[in-house]
């Protein structure tokens, strides 16, 4: 990817967000995801209570907040891995709050996990191939007739190898995923998600447990996703990283969306500082 192209996606994202006011629930010109009244309570504890949020298409949006702010729960809700107590949202023009997790993925919103979920006793290549969508050979009866799916399998394999090349895992393709390091597993998980050709990719703490050297390459990969026209929403703690790659930042605290804005606006926002400090005081009581 050339520098010029890299700039193109970033510039477009910046332009799209230029006039958006830095306040929670701010409307975007072309929202790929738009959620309203999302609430998730575990008994008496309200983990998520987001009034309204929109995610601009083609941007990298960071979701930050202190521990226990409800970021991952919100993620789980949006991706169908958890059910909301109430609320509704649309993804890419389709109502998505009733979808099951696999339907969400098929609709084009694919997630990764905070604790990486590599399929350890399968090869790296198999990990990739399982990600491909609409496979004929995944029907049980069709499995008996290799002629029906060999061609599609070869195409998928070609795509998988290209992605492994891009994520510098090509030499590991015949290794078990369990042999990879933590950082390589993160790369694999991201590459695997791309096998679905998603419109939006949700990364839950992509940098957790990754060594500094690999961190930089992961950052570049995430930027590349934007250049490929994907929308990225990621949960992160590290403000430096957020500054480096995010076009937009949404801040959650105690289950609520407290503010939104560009990384610079967020850094200067007193509410954010309070939220983090408040959380630290809370944390001391645990």
């Amino acid at each position: 990817m050339s520098d010029k192209e890299t700039k193109a996606g970033k510039t477009a994202a910046g332009a799209a967000l230029a006039g958006v006011p830095p306040e929670p629930g701010a409307p975007k010109q072309d929202a790929i995801l738009s959620a309203t009244g999302v609430r998730r309570a575990f008994g008496g504890l309200v983990a998520v209570d987001v009034e309204h949020v929109e995610i601009q298409r083609g941007t990298i949006t960071a979701l930050i907040g202190p521990n226990g702010a409800g970021k991952t729960t919100f993620f789980n809700l949006l991706t169908g891995f958890d059910r909301p107590s109430k609320g509704s949202w649309e993804f890419d023009g389709r109502r998505a709050d009733r979808m099951r997790s696999y339907q969400v993925a098929r609709a084009g919103m694919v997630r990764t996990f905070q604790l990486t979920k590599a399929l350890t006793r399968m090869t790296v290549l198999d990990n990739m191939l399982i990600g491909a969508a609409d496979q004929v050979g995944e029907r049980m009866w069709a499995g008996l007739f290799p002629g029906l799916w060999k061609k599609q399998e070869a195409e998928n394999q070609e795509r998988a190898l290209a992605l492994l090349e891009r994520f510098k895992l090509i030499e590991k393709r015949e290794h078990y995923a369990g042999e990879l390091s933590g950082g390589q597993r993160k790369l694999l998980e991201m590459a695997r998600a791309l096998m679905l050709e998603p419109k939006m990719i949700m990364l839950d703490e992509p940098m957790a447990g990754v060594n500094p050297a690999l961190k930089q390459s992961l950052l570049e990969h995430i930027k590349d996703l934007r250049e490929d026209g994907m929308t990225v929403l990621f949960v992160e703690h590290d403000m430096d990283m957020v500054h480096e790659i995010a076009d937009w930042v949404a801040v959650m605290a105690a289950g609520q969306l407290i503010t939104e804005g560009t990384p610079d606006q967020i850094s200067a926002d007193q509410r954010v500082i309070d939220a983090y400090l408040g959380a630290h005081h809370d944390a001391a009581q645990h």
Partner: protein
């Protein structure tokens, strides 16, 4: 004592009718447990569905043999759906609990006195195997020799010089059909496991959340594996019932399920030929131990004060259990498993 006889007997059994029952049951279990990670502890009940479906169909309802076979397969299907629908959305252990309980319910229902007129209660049923043995393409007078294999008045003999394997007229037919079924289902498994469908199953075994996040309907895949594995279990049940020419509820205890597991773990789970090799080895060891000990007692090699013939059975199971423990310690991957794979077990 006659070692030659002991070995011949054990080898005869190692590829004989009972071994085929274990192999088939374990092939089904391999799909469920080995590849998909489903803890089905009720494989005996799936076999019972096949066996009782056949027996009831032919004896109680007077249906043609093939219709009864269809009933047995259908019953296994229905049971898999009934057990799967409430549990497959939950964690793996729920299926384990439900299947082990359901297997016991099936056995109790089969031996219940309420409908003993139909099912025979704890005595079971017989008289359903005639149509099957009527299909034998050779007659009781057949006699031929081909290299070291010969048939003498309908009975099959395989002469290896030192050892001679002998099978009765009916056992020979059971073996022809049984081996055909084992090869057929092994072939089906090989095709399925190396297809994208099989890849999804392995993915589910590794981490079903991850597979779900990749847009796969995990529930549907698990259900397919449970149903297909259960159907193969029912086929094992047919063979079991036909080889004994009767069905008895108390042969379908949880022990039966655990033999399938022993066979699978011995051979190597998640290996295409694991169930077949495991079944042969398990049944060979079982027979060589029991025959060997019985012969040793008869020939006074082992004095009656140390071991008498009634104690042979329990002792054999004790030894097999010990062997199983040692296997799990020193070769947990089984006979042909891949040890490397076990190293990554993150759970």
């Amino acid at each position: 004592m006659d070692w030659q006889f002991v070995f011949s007997q054990a080898l005869t059994q190692a590829i004989g009718p009972t071994m085929l029952v274990y192999a088939l049951g374990a092939i089904g279990l391999n799909l469920q447990f080995g590849y998909t990670g489903l803890l089905n502890f009720g494989q005996a009940a799936f076999a019972a569905m096949g066996a009782y479906g056949l027996a009831l169909g032919v004896v109680a309802w007077g249906l043609p043999f093939w219709w009864a076979v269809v009933i047995g397969l259908g019953a296994a299907c229905v049971m898999a759906l009934l057990l799967g629908i409430p549990t497959l959305r939950l964690r793996a252990d729920y299926l384990a609990i439900v299947t082990i309980a359901a297997a016991e319910i099936v056995r109790r229902l089969a031996r219940a006195t309420v409908w003993a007129d139909t099912t025979g209660g704890s005595d079971g049923m017989r008289g359903f195997s005639e149509p099957f043995f009527a299909l034998i393409p050779w007659d009781r007078e057949s006699t031929w020799t081909l290299l070291f294999v010969s048939m003498d008045s309908g009975r099959l003999a395989v002469d290896f010089g030192i050892f001679e394997l002998q099978y009765s007229y009916r056992d020979t037919w059971i073996m022809v059909v049984g081996w055909a079924l084992v090869l057929f289902f092994t072939g089906i498994m090989a095709l399925l496991i190396h297809s994208p469908w099989g890849r999804v199953l392995k993915g589910i075994r590794e981490d079903e959340e991850a597979v779900r996040s990749l847009g796969k309907n995990v529930f549907a895949f698990k259900m397919q594996a449970l149903v297909l594995g259960g159907i193969i279990g029912a086929v094992a049940g047919f063979l079991f019932a036909l080889s004994r020419a009767n069905v008895q509820p108390d042969t379908f205890t949880t022990d039966f399920t655990f033999y399938f597991y022993v066979v699978l773990i011995l051979g190597g789970a998640a290996r295409i030929f694991g169930p077949v090799l495991g079944a042969a080895l398990f049944w060979f060891l079982y027979n060589i131990l029991s025959q060997g000990l019985s012969q040793a007692i008869r020939a006074d090699v082992i004095p009656p004060s140390v071991l008498d013939s009634t104690q042979v059975g329990p002792l054999v199971f004790l030894l097999l259990g010990l062997g199983m423990v040692l296997l799990l310690i020193f070769r947990p991957q089984g006979l042909i498993g891949n040890k490397k794979e076990l190293l990554f077990d993150v759970r």
